[in-house]
């Protein structure tokens, strides 16, 4: 198991391959790290960062500095589905707090936490640019708009059943 990143149980050769695709292209660091994050439990823990660093030559400290600046990265493993609930003003004035509370109650977790089955991580996020169809949330790369507390819970149930791609 020497190719295994211990903290992340991800094959380090896969990570190295992603990093190698854009080696020496500094404008692709964001893409490398997003692609890596997708296969590494929605996070870039230190052992994963070390693999990227080894391939690209970018010091681990710089990668840490980078991922802790941008809100969409995490250094701690997250669930299979990262649920980002917008709390900015255009969502706020049309009931985003009620939607967020319904999701939190249904999943039994607070923002920042992950469900015990490892399926969902709940996060608050800032404006996601769906202001004319708010309240809105993102689940990984998918967006859902005009939510009510009930439709948001229905959506979480659909994800639990695996009925959403």
């Amino acid at each position: 198991m020497q190719n295994q990143c211990s903290a992340s149980s991800v094959d380090s050769t896969q990570i190295a391959a992603i990093a190698a695709r854009y080696k020496n292209e500094s404008d692709q660091l964001m893409r490398i790290l997003f692609d890596v994050q997708k296969i590494a439990s929605n996070a870039i823990p230190r052992d994963v960062a070390a693999v990227v660093s080894g391939v690209t030559g970018i010091p681990e400290a710089n990668i840490y500095s980078f991922i802790t600046f941008y809100a969409m990265f995490s250094t701690k493993p997250r669930g299979k589905y990262v649920v980002r609930m917008c709390k900015s003003a255009p969502c706020h004035v049309v009931g985003a707090a009620e939607v967020a509370a319904a999701i939190g109650d249904f999943l039994g977790i607070a923002p920042g936490q992950t469900t015990s089955d490892g399926l969902f991580t709940l996060e608050f996020c800032e404006c996601i640019g769906l202001c004319d169809t708010s309240p809105a949330i993102m689940v990984n790369d998918s967006v859902y708009t005009d939510l009510t507390p009930q439709s948001a819970v229905d959506l979480m149930q659909a994800y639990q059943r695996g009925g959403v791609k």
Binding site: S26, D27, Q28, L29, M30, R31, F34, I58, S65, F66, F69, Y70, A71, M72, F73, K87, S88, A89, P90, H92, V93, V94, C125, E126, C127, I128, G129, L130, C131, D132, T133, S134, M138, D141, S142, V143
Partner: protein, 418 residues
């Protein structure tokens, strides 16, 4: 009210996955015409059109291009700012999803005008579903000969890469955006030098908003005089407005500049739903002025907005009804800025946090009259001393509500005394 669709001219009229359909609508004819003109003449035409940046700063586009044109360099860049992060703005999303080719065409014309062969679109993380639309449109344009080497058989070569943001509002600031493309933390640079002289990788760089660039092909095709026939004297053309909040008809609508704000809210937006009354409007996005219901007769152009105490910004109109608490909205906005401040400069890093603390204190009923003076003084300090537009603009919701909703603050303080 009938929309005037210049920027949105093609949205909904072709399949973004079909460059052929775009071409049949006259697409890339602006680029074709531009390539027969002298680059300096293109810049003069854009200057004459009065086109100004649509991302919020309203800087004259032709003037910006002339800086890059006039700076000699072995490499120059065109960067499209598609980091549409201002709360209450989603018009660039609609433009890119529906008409990616007009953006590509506008960027290529800009490239030819200033002598740049490479372009970047910096797309915010929150629009991952737009990424494949842009990338496949770029591929299609390249395969059809509208990007790449020797475009339309000329000596001009130009290509575009799309890069993703990482969920940082500050990257909408142009130099922070450049840092981010370069694979660094998105912290704003000290200016000068400005990007027109030293931008991406230290090279002269044009940075324009999506909507700004989409105006360019029709200006080249129809001329500056035609463009100036829309809008008002110092603010030509149209604006794509985002209507959000407590409105019946939320959405993205395009009108000539100078349209009346009250008409936008009530005739286009349909007023507040559920029989509620309008309490206030935030104009110009999360960092814009919050105005009250007595201030709505405003001509929506940059100078008139400023004179009336409103903000034009990127054309954002966020309405809130009387079920809302103004101070709660201000607290929400200051939470946003405290979170999104990058921390590089002290006035913004500390100031936003202290503004948030004071607003919370007043909401709780522990505020004093002296706190109102502190809010004002701290806001002015941030506006004067912050490094970039984030900290210069973020106190606007505070200072505008101190003025336009002063009674709300006074009542909260009074409530605490009793």
């Amino acid at each position: 009210m009938q929309e005037t669709r210049i920027v949105l001219r093609n949205v909904g009229k072709y399949n973004p996955a079909s460059v052929g359909e775009f071409r049949a609508l006259g697409g890339y004819s602006g680029l074709q015409k531009a390539l027969s003109l002298d680059p300096a003449a293109i810049i003069e035409e854009v200057k004459a059109s009065g086109l100004r940046g649509r991302g919020g700063a309203a800087f004259p586009t032709g003037t910006k291009w002339s800086f890059v044109y006039g700076t000699a360099a072995d490499q120059k860049y065109i960067v499209c700012n598609a980091d549409e992060g201002e709360p209450a703005t989603n018009k660039d999303r609609v433009i890119m999803a529906g008409d990616p080719h007009s953006l590509i065409e506008g960027m290529a014309i800009a490239g030819y005008a200033v002598g740049a062969s490479e372009g970047y679109i910096y797309l915010r993380f929150e629009y991952p579903y737009i990424m494949p639309v842009l990338e496949s449109a770029i591929n299609d344009a390249r395969n059809a000969g509208f990007l790449g080497k020797h475009i339309f058989g000329s000596d001009f070569s130009f290509d575009i890469k799309v890069v993703s943001g990482g969920g940082a509002y500050v990257c909408g600031e142009e130099t922070a955006l450049l840092e981010s493309i370069e694979g660094k933390r998105g912290e704003p640079r000290y200016k000068p030098p400005y990007p027109g002289v030293s931008g991406l990788y230290g090279k002269p760089t044009v940075i324009n908003n999506v909507e700004t660039l989409v105006n360019v092909p029709v200006i080249i095709n129809n001329g500056a005089a035609w463009y100036r026939s829309f809008g008002v004297e110092d603010c030509s053309g149209t604006k794509v407005f985002t209507l959000s909040g407590n409105l019946v008809n939320r959405g993205v609508y395009e009108f000539p500049k100078g349209v009346n704000l009250r008409d936008l809210i009530f005739e286009v937006g349909g007023g507040c739903p559920n029989g509620r009354k309008l309490l206030g409007v935030q104009t110009g996005g999360g960092s814009g002025s919050i105005i009250n219901g007595d201030m709505l007769d405003i001509s929506m152009d940059v100078e008139s907005c400023e004179a009336a105490g409103a903000t034009f910004g990127a054309g954002d109109i966020m309405v809130f009804d009387d079920s809302n608490d103004v101070l709660e909205i201000v607290e929400n906005l200051m939470e946003f800025f405290a979170h999104e401040s990058c921390g590089k400069c002290t006035p913004c890093r500390e100031g936003n946090y202290r503004l948030l603390q004071l607003i919370r204190k007043i909401r709780k009923g522990s505020g004093t009259m002296a706190d109102l003076d502190t809010l004002q003084e701290l806001s002015e300090t941030m506006m004067d001393c912050s490094l970039c537009g984030l900290g210069q603009a973020s106190p606007t919701p505070v200072v505008s509500t101190l003025k336009n909703f002063r009674n709300v603050y006074l009542e909260a303080i009074e409530r605490g005394r009793n």
